[in-house]
């Protein structure tokens, strides 16, 4: 194996995407499906083969010079280092299983070539973000995932609301992308390079105020992609897409790209305490905002979407608290258990006869394979943070990093994190009870579950449950594998006494238990929900859409109306139309003179003649004076 072959990892999905795009509909269906899965699974195998190159300082592979103009020298370079390798492995691994699931999920879909080519293209773009050694390559991937996300959310574009959801996701993330682009250009203006490693190396020589500004811009860019406040409104609507898309893009991979970006540029971002606090604050606010919204959602996928926002908020908090290892740990475990939850939710929706509303489900254990309940539960206990699951350890690591932060103000964020954990446990078990407990309340006829929709869940659920082993804290006998793996990239080393650690662990256990029992008490036996003002407020996501509508959309529309009817139609068109009308008026006066009657013309002749004659006479008289 040669290090220059690293490019094969992203190239493989790209090739399969292109083949499916061009020939997909002419190939036999099975071939297109196998091609799509092979592309991603091949990338997974390659990542395993290349694993050794990530050791130490990592491996840089320059493929070719992309742009070379004067002082601008941008090479298409990949960087396979300790930060990128686990992320690559996670993305390709989860994507392979989700591709398999998608083959089962889309088995009745006519337009499979478009679906699989977009899905493969997405994996390519995501790998470009992860492996990029250059911010411009990263930006290429960044826009690529946005494009694929748009195409896949609106995959069933014949329904207007799906197409609208796609456009909304595209536009809202684009707002963040603009800030990211500004940050990139600014960094280029200062450092003269776009290479991530060089920017990180030069970070200390940049003036502090610029560091703050660039970091905040990067944060806003990350917010757009990761659905954090204030650019979070698109994620819940993005659930209009097919379920494999929700599992892959809007749970496991793309929404964590913002976290990855901040980790990539951590040496730069961490220089500014202001930016770090802003990252933590945004993460904390999003975490609690999304958790409260999830409490009242009726659609199963929207609950999961809000929980994703909330969990990504935790990752932001971890970055803000200076613990890259903590953020990446939660990112990895979250990817596994949230993918499982989404895929299981897809099965649940199938079983309930394409019914999304959890109040019209219930008793699904008896309607479908019982194993579905167990994998869903495995994902749910990870999300709720029940002890010894992967989600428990990763969330606890973040809370510990917040609690032990030197700045006492971070205790506030820690408290928000703890409350969010309580809410998370509650809404997760609410979901489990509403879907699986009691009697079936819906009217739909269950659809059969293809085998391919069932078994890819098992490995993911397994890894999600055992994900804690990746980074088991030292005081429970673990070796903190992930923290050591990240080495000098890991950020702040969290140092805490064993008493504090045990106290936090016990608190986390207690909180998960309290959340569970509260949900058990409320939802074990189904009671019809009463809609009140609070639940409507939460169901509509704090009316965030309305606020955005009032603050931005309507003023913009009003401005547009002013420009179109006020300026354009009244002022400009009015002036021009007025001029034209004046000309028509004048011409109609002149038209009246051309009567076509000979006598009129003759008398006009005569009068003209008379005038000429008079004029000559006048000249003669006045000329005679000389």
């Amino acid at each position: 194996m040669n290090e220059s072959l690293l490019f094969l990892i992203p190239l493989l999905p790209l090739c399969c995407a292109v083949i499916n795009m061009v020939f997909g509909m002419r190939l036999p269906r099975l071939f297109a499906e196998v091609l799509a899965v092979t592309g991603v699974a091949g990338a997974f195998v390659l990542t395993l083969l290349f694993w050794g190159y990530a050791e130490g300082e990592g491996t840089r592979a320059v493929l070719f010079t992309w742009l070379n103009s004067g002082s601008v020298d941008i090479s298409f370079a990949l960087n396979f280092d300790r930060l990128a390798a686990p992320m690559t492995l996670m993305v390709t691994g989860v994507a392979s299983l989700i591709h398999l699931y998608a083959v089962g999920y889309m088995h009745e879909e006519e337009d499979y070539a478009r679906f699989f080519s977009l899905l493969n293209l997405f994996v390519f773009a995501m790998l470009a973000i992860i492996l990029a050694d250059n911010l411009l390559v990263l930006f290429l991937g960044w826009e690529g995932v946005g494009l694929c996300s748009y195409g896949l959310i609106g995959f069933w574009y014949r329904k207007l609301e799906n197409a609208k959801a796609g456009v909304k996701a595209f536009l809202v993330t684009r707002v963040g992308d603009v800030f990211l682009a500004i940050a990139l250009l600014w960094l280029f203006a200062i450092t003269g390079t776009l290479s991530i490693s060089e920017i990180n190396a030069q970070a200390t020589s940049i003036s502090p105020s610029v560091v703050i500004a660039v970091s905040l811009l990067l944060l806003l860019g990350a917010c757009g992609k990761s659905a954090q406040l204030p650019l979070m409104t698109w994620l819940a609507d993005a659930m209009a897409g097919p379920t494999p898309v929700s599992a892959l893009i809007h749970a496991a991979t793309m929404v964590t790209a913002g976290v990855y970006l901040l980790c990539r540029l951590f040496p730069l971002v961490s220089l500014s305490p202001v930016a770090m606090t802003a990252i933590t604050a945004i993460g904390a606010l999003t975490a609690i905002y999304a958790a409260t919204c999830a409490l009242a959602q009726r659609e199963i996928k929207r609950v999961l979407a809000y929980s994703t926002m909330s969990q990504v908020g935790y990752m932001f908090m971890a970055v803000g608290a200076g613990s890259v290892a903590g953020a990446m740990f939660h990112l990895l475990t979250h990817a596994f258990f949230k993918a499982v939850l989404f895929m299981a939710a897809g099965c649940v929706i199938h079983l309930a006869g394409e019914e999304n509303d959890i109040f019209k489900m219930g008793g699904l254990t008896r309607r479908g394979p019982v194993e579905l309940f167990w994998v869903f539960l495995a994902g749910a206990v990870c999300l709720a943070g029940l002890p010894l699951t992967g989600g428990f350890f990763s969330k606890d690591g973040i809370l510990l990093a917040l609690f032990t932060h030197p700045d006492p103000f971070y205790r506030v964020f820690w408290l928000i994190g703890v409350i969010t954990a309580l809410l998370t446990a509650f809404y997760t078990f609410r979901l489990v009870y509403l879907v699986f407990a009691g009697e079936y309340r819906g009217v739909g006829h269950p659809h059969a579950l293809p085998l391919l929709m069932r078994w890819p869940l098992w490995p993911l659920a397994f890894i999600g449950l055992l994900g804690g082993l990746l980074n088991l804290p030292a005081f429970v006998g673990g070796s903190e594998t992930l923290h050591h793996w990240y080495d000098n990239l890991a950020g702040r080393r969290v140092i805490a006494s064993h008493e504090v650690e045990w106290m936090l662990i016990l608190l986390a256990v207690a909180i998960a238990a309290v959340g569970w029992f509260a949900a058990h008490w409320r939802y074990r036996i189904y009671r019809a929900p009463q809609a009140n003002a609070l639940s409507r407020f939460l169901l509509n996501g704090w009316y965030a859409d309305t606020i955005v509508d009032r603050l931005f959309v309507r003023p913009f529309a009003a401005m547009g109306r002013f420009c179109s009817s006020g300026c354009d139609r009244t002022l400009f068109d009015g002036t021009l139309n007025g001029l034209a009308k004046m000309a028509t008026g004048w011409s109609s006066l002149i038209v009246q003179m051309t009567t076509g009657r000979l006598t009129t013309y003759l008398s006009a002749f005569a009068w003209g003649f008379l005038v000429l004659l008079g004029w000559f006479l006048l000249k003669l008289v006045s000329g005679g004076g000389h």
């Binding site: 002149i590 038209v591 009246q592 003179m593 051309t594 009567t595 076509g596 009657r597 000979l598 006598t599 003759l602 008398s603 005569a606």
Partner: protein, 101 residues
């Protein structure tokens, strides 16, 4: 006996005004043509008078050319009058207002 130049001019002017009045006041195409002829003759008269006054033959030559042109003009005009009559069974000038804007 030489007719004074001024008399000849005054007579020509009177003739011209008569012709013009005829052109302006009559409605019949034929009468308008007659008026035009009278005005042309007034102009010819001025040529002849001036030719006699300055003792130059050019004026008289020009009058002969003018006569030829007038003859041609009358031939064309009368043909058009026949044509107009066939079109509308009327010779009132204002009936033919097809060029109205």
């Amino acid at each position: 006996m030489m007719i004074p130049f001024g008399h000849a001019l005054a007579f020509a002017a009177a003739l011209f005004v008569l012709g013009l009045t005829c052109v302006l006041l009559r409605r019949q195409v034929i009468m308008i043509l007659v008026g035009v002829e009278i005005m042309l003759n007034a102009a010819s008269l001025v040529f002849v008078a001036a030719s006699a006054y300055w003792q130059q033959a050019d004026g008289q030559v020009f009058v002969i050319i003018l006569m030829a042109i007038t003859a041609a003009e009358v031939a064309v005009a009368l043909a058009m009058v026949v044509y107009l009559w066939r079109r509308k069974r009327s010779l009132v000038a204002d009936v033919f207002n097809g060029m109205r804007g």
